[in-house]
Amino acid sequence: MANIKELFNDQALMRELLLDHYQYPHNHELVQDGTYLSKHMASASCIDDITVQADIEDGTIRDLRFDGVACTISTASTSIMTELLKGKTVEEAKRIIGEYMKMINNEEYDSEALEEANVFQNVYKQANRIKCATIGWDAVKEIIEEKENNG
């Protein structure tokens, strides 16, 4: 059985995937709904400006959305993240985020857990752009932490 990591050795496929998520980002609309927790990532850099919203109920991420002005990598990585984490329990999401961060930092990671997000496996080679690949993920991480701290 082909390892999922090997599927992502196909450059044309990876490019297609990134282009798709950049040009037609998924879950790319915020909602006016008080049940959503929101995180505006404006001070992380002076370039990308992203807001992420999450609806977390009963320990499950029911919905995840984002909007903002950002580069290809920020937009595509956040778009892919929303698809990947939506419907997951908070515990599952935390594990996936952890594996993603390992990949971004060029450490051993569980590629099966990351599905489409494996497309960012080589971003670590552009050291100054690592933040772009993590900005949306950091937002969700912070939302989860705040949710857990506030009960």
């Binding site: 490019r15 370039i47 080589n122 552009q126 752009r129």
Partner: protein, 405 residues
């Protein structure tokens, strides 16, 4: 006119990186060997602190430090005592806003423009917040040029200061500072000039301009980092309260709180200054004056016109400052985020800057937040421009994405 190939041999960064196209001179400039030698000599031969050392190496350091005032004074046509050294131009602009701000009151107005760098905006914003002054914006055309014929209307009795970049940092618009001074002085307003992008690119004559306060950074004129130069009319410098208090800037103080400050320029130089930097700055200024600032400007104009003609022929770019005479080219590749263009270019060994370039209110003028800025200097060549334009013509969304795969 100088020979660019011979000039290039003076710069170790160019010699050591022959394939790197450095078009980020608006951010910082390369240093000629003469500057590096001056700094090395300070550390090899006469390392000492300045002021009051009675031994030979300290006297040498003193002399070298003071010599930079002379050289810079010659470069911008003023007296030595009008040249103060601070940590960078940001420190100078903060000193100016702090010093002038003490005499500003609620309802007073400071004029700036949408094309200013953060360091010529935020210190004034703080005065707005803390003292209730007004900030108003002078009229600019779409490429950042001051509309001089509408400037007079900006002045009323409340205007005390107008603070502008000589050459703006994204669009490269060259403001008519001499005329600004005439108009401002008719209305008893002071003129502050941020010359960060002008110094080393054009000849600056502070007396001819009649500017009240002007500042620039060493590192943008082939000098070392860590030195900002503040020029001022002497009476104004003598009246201005220093932002930093400490050693080297006071004449005496007593237990009861009495402080007697030294005269300018020393009063603005609290603490041990960047001695190596100040010494290196003299070497940079001498180097540029030897080449000739008028020739540098002429060559930059020639480069820019060559550059912009080629860029205009590409249909995948949008240029924000096509008609500027000299200075950077600010543009976007259509449909591609500026930072992605810069990352792509970096894989082709080309250095540019992308983003908002610290000019975060410029979008009010040009309608976009992000752009790519290619800023050249007198050591750049037409061959580099050819290679650059060729790479821009090949910059597609797919190509910028492939960088990350």
């Amino acid at each position: 006119m100088f020979d660019v190939n011979s000039v290039r041999r003076d710069f170790p960064m160019i010699v050591n990186n022959p394939d790197l196209i450095y078009f980020d001179n608006g951010a910082t400039t390369y240093k000629p060997q003469a500057v590096i030698d001056a700094i090395t000599s300070f550390y090899h031969d006469y390392t000492s602190n300045i002021e009051r050392g009675e031994y030979p190496t300290a006297i040498m350091a003193d002399k070298a430090y003071m010599n930079t005032r002379k050289v810079i004074a010659r470069m911008i046509n003023c007296q030595d005592r009008q040249i103060c050294f601070m940590g960078n131009i940001t420190a100078c602009l903060n000193q100016i806003a702090y010093g002038l701000g003490r005499d500003l009151h609620e309802g007073d107005t400071v004029l700036i423009s949408y094309a200013e760098h953060a360091s010529n905006v935020l210190p004034w914003f703080r005065l707005k917040r803390d003292k209730g002054i007004n900030i108003r914006y002078v009229p600019l055309d779409m490429q950042g040029n001051l509309k001089l014929d509408e400037l007079e209307e900006c002045f009323d009795d409340s205007v005390k200061v107008i603070s502008l970049a000589y050459v703006t940092n994204v669009l490269g618009s060259h403001q008519p500072i001499r005329e600004v001074c005439k108009i401002a002085h008719r209305h008893d307003a002071l003129v502050v000039v941020d010359a960060a992008q002008a110094i080393g690119h054009i000849k600056i004559d502070v007396e001819d301009l009649d500017v009240d306060l002007l500042c620039f950074s060493s590192h943008k004129m082939c000098g070392p980092d860590g030195v900002g130069v503040l020029y001022g009319k002497y009476d104004l410098l003598q009246q201005m309260e220093p932002i930093l208090l400490g050693g080297g800037m006071n004449a005496r103080f007593e237990a009861d709180g009495t402080i007697i400050l030294k005269d300018a320029p020393e009063r603005f130089e609290a603490g041990t200054p960047d001695i190596e930097g100040v010494i290196g700055l003299a070497a940079a200024a001498e180097y540029l004056m030897n080449i000739g600032l008028d020739d540098i400007h002429e060559y930059e104009k020639e480069l820019r016109s060559y550059f912009i003609d080629k860029m205009k022929k590409l249909d995948n770019v949008e240029i924000y400052n096509p008609d500027i005479e000299a200075g950077p080219v600010a543009f976007n590749v259509k449909g591609i985020f500026a930072q992605d263009v810069a990352t792509y270019l970096s894989t082709k060994n080309i250095a540019v800057r992308s983003g908002n370039h610290c000019a975060k209110i410029l979008h009010n003028l040009i309608g976009v937040d992000q752009s790519v800025r290619a800023s050249l200097y007198f050591y750049n060549t037409k061959e580099e421009i050819d290679r650059f334009v060729d790479e821009i013509s090949k910059t597609t969304l797919e190509a910028t994405i492939d960088v990350f795969l």
